[in-house]
Every structure is written in structure tokens, then in C-alpha cells.
Symmetry: C2
Amino acid sequence: MDKILRVNMSDQTTRLEAVPAEWAGLGGRGLTSTIVAAEVPASCHALGAHNKLVFAPGLLTGTAAANSGRLSAGAKSPLTGTIKESNAGGTAAQMLARLGIKALIIEGMPAKDAWYSLHVNKDGVTIQEETELIGKGNFAVIEALEARLGKKTGVLTIGPVGELKMTAANISVKDPDSKIRSHGRGGLGAVMGSKKIKFISIDDAGGPGIKIADPEKFKLAARTFAKALLAHPVSGEGLPTYGTNVLVNVLNEAGGLPTRNFTYGSFEGADKISGETMHDVISARGGKTRHGCHAGCIIQCSQVYNDKDGKYLTSGFEYETIWGLGADCCIDNLDDIARADSIMDDIGIDSIETAVMFGVAMEAGILSFGDSKEMLRLLGEEIGKGTPLGRILGGGAGSVGKAYGVTRVPVVKNQGIPAYDPRSVKGIGITYATSTMGADHTAGYTIATNILNVGGYVDPLKKEGQVELSRNLQIATAAVDSTGMCIFVAFPALDIPECLPALIDMINARFGINLTGDDVTNLGKHILKVEHQFNIEAGFTKEHDRLPEFFNTEKVAPHNAVWDFSGEEIDEFWNF
Amino acid sequence: MDKILRVNMSDQTTRLEAVPAEWAGLGGRGLTSTIVAAEVPASCHALGAHNKLVFAPGLLTGTAAANSGRLSAGAKSPLTGTIKESNAGGTAAQMLARLGIKALIIEGMPAKDAWYSLHVNKDGVTIQEETELIGKGNFAVIEALEARLGKKTGVLTIGPVGELKMTAANISVKDPDSKIRSHGRGGLGAVMGSKKIKFISIDDAGGPGIKIADPEKFKLAARTFAKALLAHPVSGEGLPTYGTNVLVNVLNEAGGLPTRNFTYGSFEGADKISGETMHDVISARGGKTRHGCHAGCIIQCSQVYNDKDGKYLTSGFEYETIWGLGADCCIDNLDDIARADSIMDDIGIDSIETAVMFGVAMEAGILSFGDSKEMLRLLGEEIGKGTPLGRILGGGAGSVGKAYGVTRVPVVKNQGIPAYDPRSVKGIGITYATSTMGADHTAGYTIATNILNVGGYVDPLKKEGQVELSRNLQIATAAVDSTGMCIFVAFPALDIPECLPALIDMINARFGINLTGDDVTNLGKHILKVEHQFNIEAGFTKEHDRLPEFFNTEKVAPHNAVWDFSGEEIDEFWNF
């Protein structure tokens, strides 16, 4: 039987609980958001004793379903003040699922001024005091834990940025190659730091494994599903070949590549940082152009990027990071961006928030646009060490904007706006404005339909259809985020008729139930409403479902587009 | 005829406008809040082109009415995000009133990267580029302007903190002795800095002066009013003798003196920083125990505080500053607090926000509790110079709390909670929670009735009657803040039957109208509702009318009281 693991850091107790009936059909985001909404007072201090940090594998995680190995982390976000779910690859999700752990809930705060670790195995979870690894970077933590506990140990860890409770801190997850994937957004690393937990190690030996109610049905559906993933041009071709960074050239062409802190929509140096260039560089240097963030991934959009001497530099090198440190900061040197990516992995900070932040920091005059040397120094020497300047920067784009009185600060609900200019790709602007998570492209990835012609086409420069597009995608995404599936399964799901039914069939076969497509849509709607209600109780109103003022007044080249949705038009989003 | 002066910094134009009929009966806070609500989009960036900075003398300012010389400054606050009115003494209010200027409205933002000054005289207002005084402290600005324009020139100025747009920046006003009074709260100095205005000089020569519709009636009423002020034990005795700092011992006795960042309710070193001690020190060193912040003040709660060599150190040395740097920071050295007060005047930062901030900074470990030497260094060398640490500190208590992950952060709507613990003086907690301005004791000073037995008595430790008390006082205060009267007229107005009618008679005699007491109450209600509506449009809800979580959970000695109002109970405030 699946169970809930509960850890109380205040009284240092742990409990193994039966899964309440109302949580039984939930996984991933659906479960983390339900638990946070039920157990965390919306008005609490996100870094105080009343917040809870919840990890939950998806409904299909641990099975042989392709791309189902994502882990959801949830809490009240110290960055946005909203509810937050952030999901990541790595090995932890599948290990937790195989241990029969539906959710790990961490609550309270230790009275003692000490650091701790959690160790999860077939018998439950134990709390241990930790001294050796405090202050260490994530790579050192993983290396030390593999030495301590064996190569196969699962690891969730925070770097110095999380220990120092900076609001852009992420939670790092060990991937199959002992490298790092991240629960990036919303400062969940600071929540883990506030609970004084440096890392969580996982040993899945002797766990009950995954029981499939109808193995034959599951196998058939899984095959259909995998075939669809491989058949779609984006998930089967674009992403495997160029990674997510395939988007640099695409967005640059579309005039939607935010450049120089969202001043322009295209970047002169785009070619130097594009997925195509990156592919050639990786190949020439003996890296890997294809790589999965978890076992069972068949899209393989990750990669291993080596330096010019063929030495490992970074992996999980994503479009949003490359866009942000590249176009938005006017840095056209892919090696420097890769170095920054590796430092961010090590110190444990969200590479999207940090990239957006550097654009604002450059506008504030803290460093010059294009100065990658100073950017690397600030990451390692200021943020990584928690100097006062480092703390301003480590608080993200909004923090820098406030400290330096900058008015062009691309954030919604204090979370940095990623990689797609909402003036020239209007659907994504609706997602940024209305997402329960603050600005988050993955919450309703309209780029698919606005730019990539996936799931039809909605003209990115016109207002018509954007609210509906974002709404449909946000509902679908909330459901997909509950399955443990990678978000990129949405591409085939939108275009290939048999893909989504196969996904639902897998869930039905796994649990011996009979969900319909409508059930899944209703689940997505329900999750969004639960999250929205939490945010309302935390003090958010429709006035927060707005983009920053400068998008309304500053035209972005080449289309000279502005953000022209009225409040009333945006608020239509919640009519479902 | 009174007029409106409008300055547009975007196109560098100025206009003299007739007073619209709907603004004719308004002055001070009533007028600034009405103009801000009417002309500033609630959702705008407070440091952007769409915010406006409005100055307005009160309805009685410039007349011979005792204590009527206060100036209101209004804008959207960059600290709180709410509407903001902050009023101050000094000479500017009366000069503007005598020039017939009902309001000075500063809007837009210069395109050019340059600094400016405004000069107001009988012909209107002119904009000039300024280079010489940029970067200078407020004392140097006043000295230079007196040399440039004559000893009598009126001055409104910002220090380096305002130039750097830190959100605790204040606007300084020259007082009758060429020292400084402040529009302290809410970061209005940053708004002035965002408009690139270093100072405003005022020459009232040749102005139309003040016309009194019924001089005889006015004279009689003014006499009654002044008599009441002098007859009341607080305004006629306590304040003139000991200044506002008379409250240290009073609040310490009451267990409501927040100590060590709101950890305790009384301070061991209280006697060393009390008003009584201060009175003796001032007397012994040849300072002045009585001093008015503007001509016509008969309460004279200000003072001149000299150092041990008899040299001027500071003036306008208020209880809230002394409490904050004293008890809340565990500093029992009045001379060091006076030095800090003088630096804050010079660099132009709110001494309440900054005092609360230092309590949080000490809790964060940036400096130790009691370390006045480091506090002085941080003020002068970090905040005054705008270093990264200085910018964190200059952003106020909330800024430090966010940057360092502190959970005991005494703010409401991001504004520091002053000088009275809401757990042991519950009425003021209702004011902090519900004020349209963020935490602000002056918005509805329940200390009068909770502690000083003025206007009756409501037990500070019980919940009963607090909401009604705060509501009545907030309504009355909004009206009083519109007259140009010092808030301390409330003491006699609450206790001496002929005081309030005399105040209303003066307004009627000044304008030849017939306001009743009900009219004045309705004006107060109207102002609160206009301000509240602005805040709602800016995204504030009842969830923001709450005190920080720690007040609910941490008991404060000696009464071991917690904040025990439910949200519903607090929300009763708005039922009027």
C-alpha cells in the first residue's frame, strides 16, 4: 500500500501514514497542491514553521511509461507568496515511487540551531544531524553521499543559496549520471533551508515496487504512447537533436526573444548561442547531444556540454538559461553561459530567475550588459558566498529591481518572466499573468500553438484566442503535471490523436480505474482552482494577474508590439 | 484665488491651474489623497512616470491658528504599494499657503539623465537643472540654498538615500531654525528622487497671503482652541516638558515598549533613554527642552539636543526614533541615538523605518544588538553611500527580512511597526492592521485611550472596544490631517469639550462656511474610503489587513500577551 511519509522538524519525529481517501487519486502537482492548500495557512511566513515542503512523484512515476519520472515539489513560495509546484527530473521520483511513497511532507522547524539530513528507505524516514556537508556545493554533496551511501543513492539537496534562504534558491536532484536537475522555480530551496535540511538521501532497496493493475493493457498503451512521442517532429526530432535550445533561433526569428532586459525582441548574437551552434560544438568536443534527465526518457532533450578541452562543463543546459544569460544579458559566448550554468547548479539557484535577474542587474548598472566575466564572479563570489550584494542578486529579479529602483523589471507576482516576450507572443503573456505560480512558461506553454504550430495555430501578435488557448493549456498542464510526465509530452498529445488516450489508458491500467478524457480535464480544472483559492487566501487578487506596466507602454522591435490586454480581458481566464 | 501648481517633469512644463470645484473644500491629506486617487493609476510602478508627488498645506495652514503649519505629501508609496500621506512641520507649508498654493503636483519623469530643482514663488514654479548639490546631504543643501537664495528661503529636499531611490527615503523640510523636519514614512523621498528633483525652494515674498472670511469669529475660536491646547496635561505639560520621548517610561511601565526586535515588552535600559533623562541632559548641556517645528506651534514638543561639549547634535528627536534605536536595538546610549538621528536627517531616511529595520538587521546578525558604533557606521558609510548592504538596509525592515530570511519582521504592508507593541496595546494593533498607509501609529493613535487615559479608557490588554476605538480615531485623524493641524491637538480635542468646536469654527471663519461636527466626521470617513479604494485597486485585500504571524504565536513579556484578533474581527473596522 502506498503511504505518506511525514517529518516534523520541530519535534524531530517522523510518521508513516495511510493515504487519505481524498488523496488516493492524486499524484505530482495535484497532490502537492492539495496537501499545501489543506495544511499550510495561506497567510503564513513562507520561511516559518507553518509552511510545509511536500515532494510527490507522479501517478505514473516508477512505471515503464516513457518520460514519467518527474518529481513534484510544493510549498508556499518565499519568492512569490503564492502556492508553488516545481517539478524536476532526476532519480529521486522513481525511487520514491518504488518505495511506495506517495508523498513526503516536511513540516515545522527545528528549535536547535543545527543542520539535518533525511534518509528515506523501505522502513520510512530518519532524521540525522549533519555537519560535514554544510556550506558545500551540490556537486560535493552528491559526491560525498555516493561515497557514504553508494553510487545508487538518490539525492535531493540544497546548495549555499538555499542554506542562506535566498528566495531564488532551488532544490537539486541527482540525475542518472550523478549530475543535477532542479526544482528551479519559486525558491523552494529556501523553504528546505528554513527547515534546516541540507539533503535528503534515498535508498529504494527492498521497496515494494510498482504494482500494475492491468499489465497487458498498460504495455499496449505505453507502446502507443512512446510511438507518439517519437513520431512528433518536436519531441521526436527537434528536442532530441538540439535540446530545448532549438528555440533560440525560432524565437529570434519570431521577434519574441527578449533581449537586453526585455528592450528588444531579437538578438544580434543569436546564432552564436543557438541550439544549432550548440549541437555542433557539443559534437566537435565529444560531448553528448542527447541525454535523458531520468531513466525511461525517450525524448532526451538534455545533453553533456564539454569545454574546448573536451572536459565536462555542464548538462541540462536549457533554452531559458541560455536565452536569459545570452540574449537578455547580451552575452554571446556559449562557454561562459555553460560555466554560469554549472555554477548555478552547484550553488543551488534557479537559472531562470537568475538569468532574468542579471538582465535587471545590468540595467541597474551593477554590471555591464555583456560582461560575462563579472557575471561569473558575481555568481561564485557574491551569490555563492552570501555577501550583501549576493543576497540582493540571490533574491531574484524583483529583489534587484526594488533595491536599485529599477522600473523595467520583468516579473509577475515577483517571479521572473522567462524567455518569450509577451508583447510579441501574446498567449504566453496570458499564462504569465494568470498562472497560479507567478510568471511561468511551463504552466501553459502557448509557444506550442503561437509559434510552433502545435495543436493548431493562434497568431501570436493578435489578441484573439489567446485567453482560451492559455486556459486550455493550463488546465491540461495541471493534469499532466500530476502524472509525473515531462511537459513535452504535450506536443504529441496536442497533435497525434492516439497519444492522450494512451496516456489515460496507462493511468487506468496502472490503478485499475476508468478515467475518461473529461475526468482528466476536470482534474486539471480542480487543481487550478485549489491553487487559485490558496492564492486568494494569501492576499492575491485579479490586480496581481497583470504584467508589469512597461509592457503596456514600451514597444518591442521588430513588431513594435505592446501588451494590450485589458484587465477584464485577462480576467476572462478564470471563467471555467 | 488659491491655485494648483502642476509640474510635468517629462516635458519640463509647469502650469498654474484653477482649483477644481470638488477640491475646493479639501486641504492637507484630504487633498493629496484625493488627487493621488484621481490621477495616479493604482497599479503603476511607484518609481515610474505615472506616479505623482503631491504637496498640500492644510485648510488652516498659514493662519494664526495654533499648530496649523503642517504640510502633507502624498503619492503611491514605493515602500508599501499603497496610497500614502505623510505630513511634516517646517516652514514650507505656511509659505505655500501664503502664496495661495493649494497643491503642488509633480508628475512625469525627465527623459534626460540629469537632476533638477524647482523654485516656487508668487509667479508660479520654475524647473532648473541642478548639478552643484547632487549627492549632498540635506544640511549642506539647506546651507547652500540659504547662501544662494537668502536665509528665509523655504526648502524641501532629499538626501543621498532619496537620490538612490531607496524605499525608506524621506523628504526633508527646513524648520524655522534651518534644521530638519521630515515627511518620514513610506519612501516619498524615493518618489521625489525618481522625478529627479533634488530640492524645491520656496520664496513667499509678494504672495497674496491668507484671507480670513470672518476675522473676528476666527480670532475668538483661535483663542479658545489655543487655550484648550495649553490646558490639557499631555499637550500643555507632558509634551512641552519632555517631548514625545515622555513615552519611553510610560510604555515601559505598560509593558508595551517593543524590545530586542519585538521580543520583549520592556527594556532594562529604559531609564537611560527616557524623556525625563533626556530633559535633564538637555538642560545640563545648554540645549533647548522646548522647540516648535513650525511658527505658531504652542505645544513645542521638539527640542535642541547638544553633545557633552554643548555643541548642537540634533533636534526633532522623537520617541519613536529613540524607542527604535534604543529599546528595540538594545542601545541605552542617548548620545549615540542622537548622532544616528542627525545622520538620518542628513542622508534623508525615515528614522522610524530605519529604527525598526536595525532591530531586524540585528536579528539577522548583520550587527549585534546594542552595537551603536556599527549602527552609526552602517548609516553613514553603507546606507548613506548606497553600497549593496546599504541598499538592503535602506529598503527598510521588510527588505532586510527578505534578504536575510528573517521571520520576525514587524511590518504591515511592508512598513515597519513603530514603538508600541500590538500584543500589549491592542488598539494600536488594529490601527497597524487596517491603516490605509501600512503600519502607522499616527493614523489612529489609540495609545491616547489605551495608555494615556485620554478620551476615556479602553483596557489595552483586552479585545473589547479596540476596533471601534481605532475606527473613531482613524476617521478623526484623517480629518485633522486635512486641516494642517499637528496630530497632538487630538489630546485636548478628545477631552476638552470646547476644543473641537473651536477647530471647526476656525475652518468656518476662514472660508465663510458652516461645517458641522458631522461634516468633519464625514470628511474623515470619505478620505479613508478614497484611500482604501485606491489600495483595493492596487491589489490589497483584507488579507493584507493583518499583523505578521509571529504576533499570534510569540508571547510578549511581561503580560505574556499574544495578538488574538481573528480576521473577521479586524475586518469589522471597515463597517462604516
